[in-house]
């Protein structure tokens, strides 16, 4: 105690002795404030230009732009529903597949992994994040899709043909290997490195004393993970998942390659579909007039969808905190 107060008093004396140079402080404050405000301005600018550019389409079709599933460039009829549904479904599939795997990787790396294996696995996971999306797209189309068609789509389709529900959801009318499920799987591979590395860092930061006390009272590894680590890291893991979800919602190139690019609503996971981002990537080059406005309006909707999802995530985190 005495030592502590001595330290405090020395440090106070040092502060007094030092002539403070405050010239840089205001500059620093303003510079960092400007950086923060800049983000808001850029965001507002993007949203503003999207709304402005998409306005003719919103005005022409009204709310029907969101609910209609017609996309006919020749007749200038545009509706976004198929693309919105495709975006949400493919991202959801990616989460369902990607989240358990990512958390599994993180738990293995922090709790169970033999030391010699730790570095290769972590590096590999981080390398996955560095692979450009076009590579995932090409690999998905040329390597994954044919294998998926032969060993999954065709056998599953012939198995479930004619069955109620399963026969609809898992029947491939066109067993080509691309479609909604393929896009979801490729997206899952793409978001795993994000979620896994962040979750691993979070688990690493949980104080060792917590874990050791749990082991001390006789918990098994499973019980430690289930009742100590995951509840501790819960909020942060949701943050990591949201980052992955953000990527899955907006991913363009890879999805364009493997989703099949069809403007049709289908109940089957194997059928081709499209997402907002893939539609824009496909058609932006040659679009003009109302078609161009409709694509900007699509961009605006993607913006709002992503925004809504993030707001919901915030609310979820807030609820978890209060509990």
């Amino acid at each position: 105690m005495a030592a502590l107060s001595e330290r405090i008093s020395t440090s106070t004396m040092q502060t007094i002795r030092r002539t403070p140079k405050t010239t840089f402080d205001p500059v620093f404050r303003w510079a960092s404030c400007a950086s923060a405000v800049l983000v808001l301005l850029v965001l507002a600018g993007i949203l503003g230009s999207m709304v402005y550019g998409g306005w003719p389409a919103f005005r022409e079709f009204g709310f029907g732009f969101v609910t209609s599933s017609v996309w006919n460039v020749g007749k200038e009829e545009f509706g976004a529903w198929v693309a919105i549904a495709g975006t949400l479904t493919s991202a959801l599939i990616a989460l369902v597949i990607g989240v358990p795997i990512s958390i599994g990787i993180a738990i293995f790396l922090t709790q169970l992994c033999p030391p010699w294996l730790k570095r290769p696995v972590s590096t590999t996971v981080e390398l996955l994040a560095a692979v450009p999306s076009i590579i995932y797209g090409m690999w998905g189309l040329f390597v994954f899709a044919p294998l998926f068609a032969r060993y999954v789509q065709m056998p599953v389709s012939s198995l479930v043909e004619g069955m109620p529900i399963l026969g609809t959801v898992l029947y491939a009318r066109v067993p080509s290997g691309v479609g909604l499920l393929t896009a979801g799987i490729i997206l899952a591979i793409m978001i795993i490195p994000f979620i896994a590395s962040i979750t691993r860092d979070i688990l690493d930061q949980i104080p060792t004393i917590l874990r050791e006390s749990a082991y001390g009272i006789g918990c098994t590894t499973w019980e430690v993970v289930r009742h100590v680590l995951l509840p501790q890291a819960g909020v942060s893991i949701i943050g990591a998942i949201m980052l992955g979800l953000g990527r899955a919602l907006g991913e363009t190139m890879a999805v364009t390659f493997v989703i099949g690019n069809a403007n049709r609503l289908s109940l089957s996971l194997f059928d081709p579909s499209s997402t907002i981002a893939s539609r824009i990537a496909n058609e932006f080059n040659e679009a003009s007039d109302l078609h161009f406005n409709a694509l900007l309006a699509l961009g605006c909707i993607l913006f709002l969808v992503t925004f809504t999802v993030l707001v919901l995530a915030r609310l979820l985190i807030a609820r978890m905190r209060t509990r």
Partner: protein, 347 residues
């Protein structure tokens, strides 16, 4: 929209300004389909004259926008503009080379040119009305060819494209149902099948999906060795797609039928004519703000008509017939004037 194209134009202008270029360099933008041949021509032209060409292949729609905004010396498009649009913006349109679109298939045991189809059957396949290769109408045309009792997967271009425009123009000509339900456009509302991005996307999908049918530019089918389909032409014959049958389609065409030579070469008469043939077009202003630049553009294409045939055929494009070139050059001389009213192009 306006400010976006402005930003786009400003970016383009900046990119042009920052490239150190000789005064005589000309700039163009547009269609991706003729890009390889324009690039080859430009290379040879530069070697001969020292004048360069900077061509940005940003797509036909982009080419039209750029020339209207006067940010380039010429625009390029696969789908011709209509007379009213040309007049509205004071543009002159002329073709440069032609190419063909061919249906390609992946059916076990069926090689190039072994399967025969009519335009109407093709339209019904891409509309989902004919769903299996064992369909009676296909069988009737192809006695002796063993076709599987398997569902057909139609494959289309998922990006908006001049190739799709040509293909659907043809389908609209041969099928009333197609014309009524889907029409001709760079992107249509495909009722069945799946999309591939770019010619390479369609080619790859057809290659790896059994029993698929797609359509690509002829050069693609040839270079990738994908079996093409023989199509019945207006004369009832089944010509083999080649530069000869593409040229045959051009030979019988009435080039004066539409303003700016904006005719379609699809479904032309003639025993040898390949039914899905199309020219690609250049757009220039009739009263250019910078006549000397436009003069350079015309000089370049005049040189290409005269010296570029071999380079074009090497890349599987088809040069225009001589009489058409003569018509184009006289249109240049007649219609493109500088501010003092003098013709910009001198033969």
């Amino acid at each position: 929209m306006k400010f976006l194209s402005f930003a786009f134009a400003a970016g383009l202008a900046a990119s042009i300004l920052t490239t150190p270029a000789a005064a005589a360099d000309i700039t163009g933008a547009g269609a991706t389909f003729p890009f390889p041949v324009y690039a080859k021509w430009a290379e040879a032209y530069k070697k001969e004259t020292g004048n360069g060409l900077n061509y940005q292949s940003i797509g036909s729609g982009g080419g039209i926008k750029q020339i209207q905004a006067k940010t380039v010396d010429f625009g390029a498009t696969d789908a011709p503009l209509k007379g009213a649009d040309l007049d509205k913006h004071g543009l002159l349109q002329f073709p440069t080379v032609m190419g063909g679109v061919v249906p390609v298939v992946n059916i076990a045991g069926v090689g190039p040119g072994q399967l025969k189809l009519t335009g109407e059957i093709l339209a019904d396949i891409f509309q989902g009305k004919i769903a299996k290769w064992s369909d009676a109408r296909i069988a009737k045309l192809n006695e002796g060819v063993k076709l599987p009792d398997a569902p057909i997967t139609p494959v289309y271009r998922s990006d908006a494209s001049g190739t799709t425009n040509v293909f659907t123009t043809y389908l609209s000509q041969v099928s009333e149902a197609w014309k009524a339900d889907l029409g001709a456009n760079a992107a249509v509302n495909w009722p069945v099948g799946q999309g591939g991005k770019g010619n390479e996307g369609v080619a790859a999908t057809v290659k790896q999906v059994p029993n698929a049918i797609g359509y690509v530019e002829y050069a693609y089918a040839k270079q990738n060795n994908i079996p093409y389909v023989l199509l019945q032409n207006k004369a009832g014959k089944f010509p083999v797609p080649s530069d000869k049958s593409f040229q045959a389609a051009a030979a019988n065409a009435d080039w004066n039928a539409a303003p700016g030579f904006g005719i379609s070469l699809t479904d032309q008469a003639g025993d040898e004519a390949w039914p899905i043939t199309a020219p690609t077009f250049i757009l220039v202003h009739k009263a250019p703000a910078k006549p000397e630049q436009t003069a350079e553009v015309l000089k370049f294409f005049a040189w290409a008509y005269k010296n570029g045939d071999k380079l074009a055929s090497d890349l599987d494009y088809v040069p225009l017939p001589d009489n058409v070139v003569a018509m184009i050059e006289s249109a240049w001389a007649k219609e493109i004037k500088d501010p003092s009213g003098q013709p910009v192009y001198k033969q």
